[in-house]
């Protein structure tokens, strides 16, 4: 037997877990933001660190924290218990909190070590995202923006009430602060030829988005009171003289741009605003919450009607519509079928057309890159390349319409593609593999907690101005919301090398997450694990650790808390936000049932003269089943241990938090 063989199970080894499995929110996010991590930090009221986590993947944290359609929430496993976590709102909490806490953030100043530069056409989310990531990858980006201010559709298409301009400015300033140059008011193709850019720069990224509205091929579309949504929103956003609107406005379209046009028209005119769309109410492409907000503000919606003609003689008098029988064909493609005989008229004096957008590629020279027969850039999705060497594309110009976060993701991918092309040693990141659904029988064991609602200004008040509608979650609410997170895939993991199949974890797990089979093999199901930590405290061989707040992490937090000079240490609970000693340095855990005897003794060893352990009730269970029982057992054992070591066992004490913020708000 060689020494290695005899040693093989003798010494500590890293815990190997299901490391490749990730939370579904992260997998569903186009830019794979580690939402779980920043949510934890929000739960602990550490917004600046939360924001830093957001920034790891997201160059526009404040923007995305306000306008994202949050596909993460659709994937959120908490939704299988009650309602998904308000992930998007918590992202906003991170950046809002980081500011109100006075914890400003300084952008990094990367060295452009690659020694190459890239021209990016367009400063929308895709261009900004690409520029940000390219800078971090060591490539110098220069953005060319035709408008007088950066931001693309974020600035021209999204209204102040959803995304205040100063917020957009702050996110863009951060990117500028990284050394990214944005040349505004420069129209490629007019002020500078595309070929010139291609010659001067080592690569070009086309990220021009969809800057033009499609018009309606219907009689009357040329009447003066017929507006296109994009220029309309542009004008509204720019604060230019508001277009002349009547008192009865018809918006054609059922998407998010149509909603914004309608809500803006409502604000500007104070009159009657009616949306007319082909889809039924449940088919409308606009997000449900946008529809709710719009109707709350007085916008009415007529579904399943297609525009036939704009009525009026020199002046709009109404919209003739025909019944739309179906919007999509059997393959789900857009192919509306109408009943040409079922006509009606929606009266109105103004029409805004919001039926879709297209890109303007008129700046491209004949030498390429090439576009296809429908006028769309020919594009390789994997490598983000066009038909011309050194010219790349990203964002809606190639992906079609979508959310800002998708454009951001596309820009970030392009950044890697461009950097690789320019010689950077970087790979496209792998797609995260999400864990599965909450299994039957587990959801019932999760402590109920309702989703916290985003406070908003009352509809009556807000429909008269363009000030921001949503107010942001207050701190306590935000922490309660954050602590609803199930911490998917961040629970117990074990080392096969250290596990001796003693079955302790199998016996103590209240959720049946630990298992063993007849062959003596044991494992932990990330789907069942609720991250209570009881198995971690009990495992006799230290084969188990927890993803969120590993033993090492908690030890480091204990040490950090005690280096502040304090002699008292409190272990608090992020679910109850229980703090029993406002003056003591605190280590916040997801329920103190996570505390092992080892960690309690560690605090004493590191100089804590008194250790307080917060629990939220007398009950056996805390946030987790058997959580408090475990807390009490660990505290009793630790007391005995320090008594044997000659210390006062009273130095470790359980206290019940008298006022439970999390419960008070239920």
């Amino acid at each position: 037997m060689t020494e290695n063989q005899t040693n093989i199970r003798s010494f500590s080894r890293p815990i190997s877990g299901d490391e490749l499995r990730r939370p579904p929110c992260e997998a569903a996010c186009p830019i794979h933001t580690d939402a779980q991590r920043y949510i934890q930090l929000v739960a602990e009221n550490r917004p600046a660190e939360a924001l830093a986590v957001v920034r790891q993947t997201n160059p526009l944290p404040q923007v995305i924290g306000r306008i994202c359609p949050h596909p993460c929430e659709d994937a959120c496993r908490r939704g299988q218990v009650d309602e998904p976590i308000a992930i998007c709102n918590l992202k906003r909490v991170a950046s809002d909190g980081a500011k109100t806490g006075g914890l400003g953030y300084d952008p990094p100043r990367p060295d452009f070590t690659i020694g190459k530069k890239v021209a990016i056409i367009g400063s929308g989310p895709s261009g900004l995202g690409a520029a940000h990531d390219l800078a971090l990858l060591g490539v110098r980006p220069v953005i060319f923006e035709s408008q007088s201010e950066a931001g693309g559709f974020l600035r021209t298409g999204i209204l102040n009430y959803r995304l205040p301009k100063h917020i957009l400015d702050e996110d863009i300033d951060y990117i500028r602060g990284m050394g990214v140059e944005i040349r505004t008011g420069v129209k490629v193709g007019e002020d500078i030829a595309f070929d010139e850019l291609a010659d001067e720069y080592d690569a070009v990224l086309i990220a021009v988005g969809l800057s033009e509205s499609r018009s309606l091929p219907a009689p009357g579309a040329d009447l003066p009171q017929v507006l296109l949504a994009v220029p309309f929103l542009e004008a509204v956003n720019a604060g230019r003289e508001a277009p002349e609107l009547g008192k009865e406005i018809i918006v054609i379209g059922g998407g998010n741009v149509a909603i914004d046009a309608a809500r803006s028209a409502r604000r500007l005119s104070g009159g009657k605003v009616t949306m007319v769309c082909l889809e039924t109410d449940y088919e409308m492409p606009a997000h449900s919450w946008e529809i709710e907000d719009a109707t709350a503000e007085g916008v009415s919606i007529i579904c399943s009607q297609g525009p036939n003609a704009i009525m009026g003689d020199g002046k709009v008098e109404g919209l003739e519509v025909k019944k739309c029988e179906s919007v999509f064909d059997e393959q789900g493609r857009f192919a509306p079928r109408f009943c040409e005989t079922e006509l009606s008229v929606v009266p109105g004096d103004t029409v805004i057309i919001a039926i879709g957008q297209m890109s303007n590629l008129s700046f491209l020279p004949g030498s390429g890159p090439e576009v296809n027969e429908r006028g769309i850039l020919i594009f390789d999705r994997e490598q983000c390349t066009t038909t011309r060497r050194g010219v790349f594309a990203s964002g809606e110009v190639v992906t079609g319409p979508g959310a800002a976060v998708n454009a951001l993701a596309s820009g970030k991918r392009a950044a890697i593609a461009v950097a690789r092309y320019l010689g950077a040693d970087v790979d496209f990141p792998p797609e995260p593999d999400p864990i599965g659904e909450v299994p039957p029988g587990v959801a019932e064991k999760v402590k109920p907690a309702p989703r916290r609602k985003m406070p908003a200004r009352p509809a009556g008040e807000r429909s008269g101005d363009f000030d921001e509608v949503e107010l942001g979650l207050p701190e306590v609410e935000a922490r309660c919301e954050a602590s609803r997170c199930l911490l998917c895939s961040a629970g117990a993991r074990y080392s096969e090398l250290k596990c001796i199949a003693c079955l302790t974890c199998v016996r103590v797990c209240p959720y049946g997450a630990t298992w063993h089979d007849r062959e003596g093999l044991a494992g932990i199901s990330p789907e069942r694990c609720q991250v209570c930590g009881i198995c971690f405290t009990q495992c006799p061989t230290k084969a188990i650790d927890i993803g969120v707040k590993s033993e090492e992490q908690i030890e480091a937090e204990i040490e950090a808390a005690l280096t502040g000079g304090g002699k008292d240490l409190e272990f608090g609970c992020w679910y109850s936000q229980a703090r029993v000693t406002p003056d003591a340095a605190a280590v916040i855990l997801p329920c103190t049932g996570r505390l092992s005897v080892r960690l309690l003794l560690h605090a004493v060893e590191r100089g804590a003269e008194r250790v307080y352990v917060a629990v939220c009730s007398e009950s056996e269970d805390g946030h987790f089943i058997h959580g408090h029982r475990q807390t009490r057992a660990a505290v009793a054992e630790a007391k005995k241990a320090i008594a044997e070591a000659g210390l006062d066992p009273g130095a470790i004490e359980i206290r019940i938090e008298p006022e439970l913020k999390c419960k008070k708000n239920v």
Binding site: M1, E3, T6, N7, R9, S10, F11, S12, K498, I500, C502, T504, R507, V508, Q538, C539, P540, T541, K542, S596, V597, R598, L601, H602, V604, E605, A641, I642, E644, A645, G646, L647
Partner: protein, 208 residues
């Protein structure tokens, strides 16, 4: 015991004593923490480290921690008492002390409860007692039935202690084999237990 030692090594054992939550890596580290706390309080210099092997009852595993053992002034073993004795055998000049009392050979009837099931007596009787051992589980190691202190299934020594002979009786009654309780089991050959001196087991044909 360790006051005069500068370097203390707590040696854990990650098999049987780990399974019964008394001396695995976790317990060894807790003991080390406790010692560090006590020694700091008493102003004793030096360090307390831990090392855990898979089994302290085999040379190869003990050899693997030679460096740590050599550095230590005393080794406290949280293994069953075989561990410290193995360390003594392997490291003849090293001070070694047990950090745990070895109680019994037990069965886990329920979690966190270990019940003595075997006394390692060397002459197994359970074939005659319904597969239940009165040597380990009767307070008087009776071989021929319950004494007069058996009451309501409990032993005379404590209402907490079940009367194993009641269990044997019930099992044999259920098996329809009460006749086997009529047979007298003769005086036990205690020489096969440790009464006969330390025992050695050899696998025939594989002696070194």
């Amino acid at each position: 015991m360790t006051d005069d030692c500068e370097n203390v090594l707590v040696a854990g054992c990650n098999t049987c004593v780990a399974v019964c939550l008394t001396g695995g890596e976790k317990e060894a580290e807790q003991l080390a923490q406790q010692l560090r706390i006590a020694r700091r309080r008493e102003g004793i210099r030096g360090k307390v480290d831990t090392v855990t092997v898979l089994r302290q009852c085999e040379n190869e595993y003990l050899d693997a921690i030679a460096v740590q053992v050599e550095e230590a002034d005393i080794v406290l073993s949280t293994a069953c008492s075989i561990g410290p004795q193995g360390l003594v055998f392997r490291y003849p000049r090293k001070r070694v002390a047990p950090a745990m009392n070895t109680n019994m050979l037990g069965y886990v009837r329920e979690h966190h409860v270990w019940t003595e099931y075997c006394a390692a007596c060397g002459s197994c009787v359970i074939a005659a007692t319904g597969g239940i051992c009165p040597v380990a589980r009767c307070a008087k190691t009776l071989l021929n039935g319950p004494c007069g202190g058996s009451r309501n299934g409990r032993c005379e020594i404590s209402p907490e202690v079940p009367c194993v002979w009641q269990e044997i009786y019930d099992r044999l009654a259920a098996l329809g084999d009460l006749d086997s309780l009529k047979r007298i089991i003769g005086p036990k050959k205690w020489n096969l237990s440790n009464s006969g001196g330390p025992r050695t087991m050899k696998k025939e044909g594989f002696e070194p």
